[in-house]
Symmetry: C2
Subunit: 385 residues, 2 copies
DNA sequence: GGAGGGCGGAGATACGTTTCTCCATGAGCG
DNA sequence: CGCTCATGGAGAAACGTATCTCCGCCCTCC
């Protein structure tokens, strides 16, 4: 009785001036208890439809919006997922991964939204106080470096973490990555088939998984087919360095007659360098680069690109993460059941489950030596209005 | 006494198995009260440095992380800012604004982070339950359509809203936009100076501020100088339609000898269309388009672009929003003082304060009829290694 | 006629902070 | 010696929700 008077009377005694309606106000206006309002609005409990709709109506009339903070505190779920992007220097996410990241983030946002979650963009360089000030249900990490302290702390504190890019030593809940080895081998074969005798590589100096696996696959292939490796590495986050490295690669005495560039801007840089040295593409030099940008469909000549299919990656990462969030026992962080369908698992118990996604090679003129059509590819629907 | 036993004893009686340490645990371990822990960690209250550091040490040892949800509930601040992006169809943010949006979001993220806030990406098409499930301190809205119900509701419920793009009928706290009129006039003058006699426009069919203001400025200029308007409009969110529209514009009997394209892909589309019709750029056709992409530095010929300086926009929008958040009286949403420095205000009381930001015209070969250097622009640091 | 069971709903507690209020102690001072 | 003040810190009330527990009622069935 006393407590009841307290609950309903508190607001009345305290000068409540124009504050937003709370659940108590709705309860009072509808003539029911707080419990009933909560149940009616959340579709829980056992209530006749009449009461349910009446409460909803009153809530609507009062413009009631449940407090997200209170709900999060109570339920332990915020509906928020962190999206961690690597940073170089001051700016979030690097230039070289620009289109890739944008596409991936877009797909991730859509996927999360479809399941009732929203994404919080959190550069890895964020001040720690920002991180700890946000209630996250889980985190997506893009290409974590080895031994990322951030990931380790998150994982330890029970927050599910799914990484885009096979993690090095970080413990993660799950990971998704392209099959970079297969992709590189496929490209090398493709170039060989087009007549390449010496294939060069434009690669990066950083130690992320993508760079490492791709370079290793290239070196292994060289070793297998007996070609001397011809490559230049440069800091991939520096856009100017890419042009210099491309130039350097084509200036070598053992100049390659085909080049695969690992990063987005390499295509245009290599094309420019080739022009500079009077090399015709594809006649004197075959070109492939990894890019999500469609500008390479319109360069002169159009350049063959490898797409990592970032949309699929983004969608998969988010779905894996939400599966983990919703399937995990909130208390201890131990799994209540199988987190992933069997196809997702790599090993029984040790390493975290990983998913390998295929890539797509978009073949254009730059990697086909004798192209049947020497004319410019016809514009899109030229006569069509 | 009883209450004290309750506060400290609750966890002991309840089976507390491996739960994360709370502020109570820290207080108990440090032999002080909850209040003292809170004060010590937040730098409030009057405490000797010795106590402060001791509490901090204990908290560190226990791995204490304050609950963001509880803090948000108590303080009414989440440190979260919504970033609303327009959507076309299923996907968040449209293709045509891709580079612009990416740059803008990047800058906004940095700016927010620097002030202790994080950004939540929220497509305008989000289900309402997602919106209301997130505690937002404020929202950035990109180019809201007229009478956006989302913005209206947010504003009504007291959440500060700052829009990128002058809002139509939505009530917002403040807005930021480029001076589109000045930009268009500048371009038209620039083309005239280069010898253009009839300037065409490639524009969009949507009703957003950017499209509307730019088109109006073009029409007004035509009217003033006595040129018959020559323009084609197409749905800007459809990338294929742009190529068709570019073709149509150059196929007209009253073919323009200079074109300004409002959207990013227009440059390549117009270039391709010009080739198709045997028009040389810039000799037969002067070209300018609005774009943030640097691919236009390397096209053949390089194309003059108008940059909207999205980084500056993003930074400004976020700073304006955070100013509003931190300067607003939490209770009623009324301002406690001047929200913005005088230079931000347009009118005394009626319309929300708006800021106009300058644009930048990056002049390249495509808009200069007699260019002094007919050679290809030198590559970046060709001799440098 | 009493016991059990389903229905509809109320009470109260806990989520983990922040912060307002207030108390004890000791020093300074008239 | 008593009063005031500053210092250091404790108590307890919120913040607004979800949910666990339990209670009354009416109906039915043995």
């Amino acid at each position: 009785m006393t407590a009841a008077a307290n609950q309903n009377g508190r607001r009345a005694t305290a000068s409540r001036r124009l504050e937003r309606a709370g659940i108590r106000d709705v309860a009072a206006a509808a003539g029911v208890s707080i419990t009933t309002v909560s149940d009616a609005l959340n579709g829980k409990g056992r209530l006749p439809d009449e009461t349910r709709s009446r409460v909803r109506e009153v809530a609507e009339r009062l413009g009631y919006r449940p407090s997200a903070a209170a709900r999060t505190l109570r339920t332990g779920r915020s509906g928020l997922i962190g999206l961690t992007v690597t940073t170089y220097g001051e700016e979030p996410f690097t230039f070289t991964e620009f289109a890739y990241f944008a596409e991936m983030a877009r797909a991730a946002t859509s996927a999360a939204l479809g399941r009732g979650y929203a994404l919080v963009v959190l550069p890895a360089s964020s001040r720690h106080d920002v991180w700890s000030n946000i209630a996250l249900d889980g985190t997506v990490v893009i290409d974590p470096p080895d031994q990322d302290p951030l990931v380790t702390e998150l994982y330890r504190s029970g927050v599910p973490v799914v990484s885009d890019g096979k993690p090095g030593n970080c413990p993660v809940t799950a990971w998704v990555d392209n099959d970079h080895e297969a992709a590189v081998l496929n490209i090398l074969e493709h170039l060989s088939d087009a007549g390449a005798r010496r294939i060069g590589l434009l690669t990066g100096t950083s130690t992320d998984t993508y760079t490492r696996l791709s370079t290793e696959a290239y070196l292994a292939w060289c070793d297998r087919v007996g070609q001397e490796p011809v490559y230049e590495a440069y800091p991939a986050h520096d856009p100017a360095a890419g042009a210099v490295a491309a130039d350097r690669l084509l200036a070598r005495p053992d100049r390659p007659d085909a080049v695969y560039g690992l990063f987005d801007p390499n295509g245009t840089d290599l094309l420019a360098a080739a022009r500079r040295y009077g090399l015709r593409v594809p006649d004197d030099l075959l070109l492939v680069c990894c890019s999500e940008s469609d500008v390479y469909a319109n360069t002169e000549p159009p350049i063959t690109t490898l797409s990592l299919k970032p949309r699929r990656i983004g969608t998969t990462v988010v779905n894996l993460l939400i599966d983990a969030i919703e399937g995990v026992d909130a208390g201890t962080g131990t799994a209540t059941g199988r987190l992933f369908p069997p196809r997702y698992r790599t090993a029984g118990t040790g390493p975290p489950p990983g998913t390998l996604m295929p890539t797509e090679l978009i073949v254009r003129a730059s990697s086909q030596r004798r192209t049947p059509r020497t004319t410019v590819s016809p514009p899109r629907a030229p006569g069509e209005v």
